[in-house]
């Protein structure tokens, strides 16, 4: 509330000067560091993938196992993102607007996947659904295979990409407040209409930023699905698992080709993330 930065007040914060003298050196060091650390390896991968020419690259990429792996990655990514977008929004609403005993525990649970190694995330699911697991009798009765099967991989992906939507939405919802929504209530809107027409549109950039982070994390997941899936080629093998196996089986062209596709895909996602982040900043900070 104390923050009254309008469009003109935001300007001095964004005021930047041209570096001079020793500052120029600082800028050069930072740019050089980021270049060596981030851009160098990226160029290395492009070089590695295209070293043998476009033909082998294309053949490796269109190999049925590679295509299947990429398709499964996309499917798992979309499904996990959809689940986390819907339920993560519910969790954010509860964390911001509801109040009850144990709410802080929920808040901590949202962050927990960030503190969990992906390997441990996959291992947890093995413990729950594997031989002698707590939930094994239940899923056996239902006849849904979890461990070494796609449903388990989906659960693992949901776990590792769970925090992002909620974490991005909580500050946005706090900023939006409930005033416009209460106006809608006084005009007779149902909570559902009020959410759908008022709150969701106002929070959309934050939600989309969270969704893009979720999706990026989901398609890049490796450790958790490695543990859960059993990596059965053409069946439970995602793109990252394919890369890992290709490296193991001394098929560098296949590994590089699929890795390059994943990298390019993340690059596109990154552009989307930047866009959403900027829109979010513009619409909530000013």
């Amino acid at each position: 509330m104390a923050d009254v930065a309008g469009p003109e007040a935001a300007d001095p914060r964004e005021r930047r000067t041209r570096p001079r003298g020793i500052e120029l050196l600082l800028v050069a060091v930072v740019v050089g560091y980021a270049g060596i650390l981030l851009v160098g390896p990226l160029l290395g991968l492009v070089w590695g993938a295209l070293r043998g020419g476009a033909g082998p690259f294309w053949r490796a990429l269109t190999h049925p196992e590679a295509l299947h792996a990429l398709k499964l990655t996309l499917l798992l990514g979309l499904a996990a993102t959809a689940i986390n977008a819907v339920l993560g929004t519910c969790a954010a609403l509860v964390l911001v607007r509801d109040d009850f005993r144990g709410k802080r525990v929920l808040n901590g649970l949202v962050d927990l996947p960030l503190a969990t190694s992906p390997v441990i995330a996959g291992f947890m699911l093995i413990l729950l659904f594997g031989r002698g697991g707590w939930l094994t009798p239940a899923v056996e009765a239902l006849g849904v295979p979890i461990v070494f099967a796609v449903p388990g991989m989906l659960l693992a992906t949901v776990f590792v990409s769970l925090p992002f939507v909620t974490r991005e939405l909580v500050p946005v919802l706090e900023q939006i407040g409930t005033e416009s929504e209460s106006v809608a209530y006084t005009m007779g809107a149902s909570p559902w209409t009020a959410f759908w027409r008022i709150t969701l549109p106002a929070a959309r950039w934050g939600l989309l930023y969270g969704v893009s982070l979720t999706f990026a994390r989901a398609i890049g997941e490796f450790g958790a699905v490695l543990v859960v899936s059993g990596s059965i080629a053409g069946l439970t093998e995602t793109a990252t698992l394919f890369v890992y196996r290709a490296l193991d089986e001394r098929n560098p062209v296949g590994a590089h080709a699929v890795a390059l596709v994943l990298a390019l895909f993340s690059f596109v996602l990154l552009l989307g993330m930047e866009f959403f982040r900027r829109r979010r900043r513009r619409s909530y900070r000013s």
Binding site: P19, L26, L37, L38, C90, V94, L112, P113, S182, V243
Partner: protein, 291 residues
């Protein structure tokens, strides 16, 4: 009763409706609460409970034996050491990056700003592969370095490089908004009083961004403890030398040793969760003070 009273007062008063009028009716509220609890309970709390139960299922002594066995202890030590070194380097370069992005205008600034998020977008396994392609024995930099006796891949420097890459955004992204929001007038006052840029940074800017630096450092460290995808490819995973704790846990799972895997998992989870709790405590304080 309360919602009725709230809407009545909102209807009579011309002022904006009161906050409690926006509380959805009980059914919606209970449904939402139950959904959130079920979601986080089933997806997060239950799996966590399973690991904790497994780790302690044979008693405290067995747990202790699993954690302090030579291979496990070495792996944990290496993980903590690498994470600590990486965090120190990333704090320096992360603050420098955030400062440069916030204060200077130069060609390529927008590109650098976008690149900072690259490690968040790129799968960590791909990160590991990229490092192997560049620095590995068959890579163009790797061959040159090998001729000079420097080994990066299948050695500790490779682990460090992978962690530096993966954790680069944390400090930058936690410091940058504070620098942008900071009162520039204090810095400018220091300059007009004759303080050097360096002195100004040290005396005026740094104290202001210190909590954000600490937050970024803790996130960095917590993230590094669990890193698997890039390290498993880069490190070579030689027990006692380049085998980190997550890779050790993976080995224990593969060799059907769930109790020992759980024990080491519990240690890692505890450390990184404490870090996150500290971050939470830190980031909440200024908000509470500001209203």
């Amino acid at each position: 009763m309360t919602p009725a009273a709230g809407s009545a007062s909102a209807a009579t008063a011309p002022a904006p409706a009161r906050k409690d009028a926006a509380v959805p009716r009980p059914w919606g509220r209970w449904g939402l609460r139950a959904t959130a609890i079920a979601y986080l309970g089933l997806a997060v709390a239950l799996p966590l409970a399973a690991v904790v139960e497994q780790g302690f299922s044979a008693g405290l002594r067995e747990f202790w034996r699993n954690v302090t066995g030579p291979a496990a202890a070495d792996a944990l030590q290496l993980t903590l050491l690498m994470a600590a070194i990486m965090t120190a380097v990333n704090v320096v370069f992360g603050v420098a990056t955030a400062y440069v992005l916030a204060r200077y205008e130069f060609p390529g600034r927008g590109l650098l700003n976008g690149l900072v998020d690259l490690p968040f977008a790129i799968p960590t396994l791909v990160t590991g592969l990229m490092l192997v392609v560049l620095y590995g024995p068959a890579g163009f930099l790797g061959r040159w370095m090998e001729g000079r006796g420097i080994q990066v891949i299948f050695a500790r420097p490779g682990i460090l490089l992978a962690l530096l890459f993966v954790c680069y955004p944390f400090v930058v992204r936690s410091v940058q908004p504070v620098l942008l929001g900071a009162e520039r007038s204090e810095e400018e006052a220091a300059w007009t009083l004759g303080a050097s840029r360096w002195k100004t940074f040290w005396r005026v800017t740094l104290p202001e961004i210190l909590p954000a630096v600490l937050t970024g450092a803790l996130l960095c460290f917590a993230r590094a403890l669990g890193e698997f995808g890039s390290i498993v490819i880069v490190a070579g995973n030689i027990p006692g030398r380049t085998l980190t704790a997550p890779v050790y846990i993976f080995g224990e799972i593969e060799s059907q040793n769930p109790r020992s895997a759980s024990a080491v998992s519990i240690v890692l989870l505890t450390i990184s969760f404490v870090m996150l709790l500290l971050v939470d405590a830190y980031s909440r304080r200024p908000k509470a003070a500001g209203g």
